[in-house]
Symmetry: C2
Subunit: 99 residues, 2 copies
DNA sequence: TTGACATATCGATGGATATCAATATATACT
DNA sequence: AGTATATATTGATATCCATCGATATGTCAA
């Protein structure tokens, strides 16, 4: 059930939608979320086709939104999706037709 | 089930998330979607607290994304949410925990 | 036709953002 | 120490975007 949001609520949730509002970030996010496991950041530049600083910039925005977390282990950073944040904003939208 | 998107898919879906990425638009959208019926645009300026051109600008972005439709009847325009578009992008995100 | 009102469009402006080259930082290996 | 690799940060630039005043368009009523 969708309900109208206060401005404070809207500012918070809009940040999550903003993280998903760029095609590069949406590809990064779905790439990470499609795996139930961790994904190595080292694969993203080749997979996405943008420079390393650009990919790093987008990953930071995804991290700041809470949609993903990154864990550094040795040289590499491993990314994992946080479904709670996605669920949070999904519930603001009209419910999908029940399967 | 989330899956990685192609760039073309990502560009299309990112546009919908971009429509939801501004607090004013998110409030407008949830205001419209919270009603199962039509909502008169004439109420938005007072409800949202932005100038009439600004509200009109945001409504255009919501219309262009497909999230809402507007129907002019006489002097007023009546808005209605289109849940299909919301469902479409919701399904790109990790599934919410089943109730 | 004139006036009042609802909505859209135009034009300008300040601020945010996507991008990359260059550089910094951190880790691993020899 | 020295080299190589992964990731982050900095700095610069071009583009996009939110906002509002002014104006246009369309509708209704008198």
């Amino acid at each position: 059930m969708t309900r109208a949001l206060t401005h404070v609520e809207a500012v918070r949730s809009a940040r999550v939608f903003a993280a998903l509002s760029d095609p590069i970030r949406l590809r990064l996010y779905t790439l990470i979320a499609a795996s139930d496991d961790e994904v190595c950041a080292c694969s993203f530049v080749a997979a996405i086709g943008r420079s390393q600083p650009t990919v790093s910039h987008h990953l930071k925005i995804l991290r700041d939104s809470g949609l993903v977390t990154g864990t550094k282990r040795g040289t590499w950073v491993w990314y994992r999706a946080n479904p709670d944040i996605a669920t949070e904003v999904t519930q603001l939208l009209p419910a999908r037709i029940s399967a």
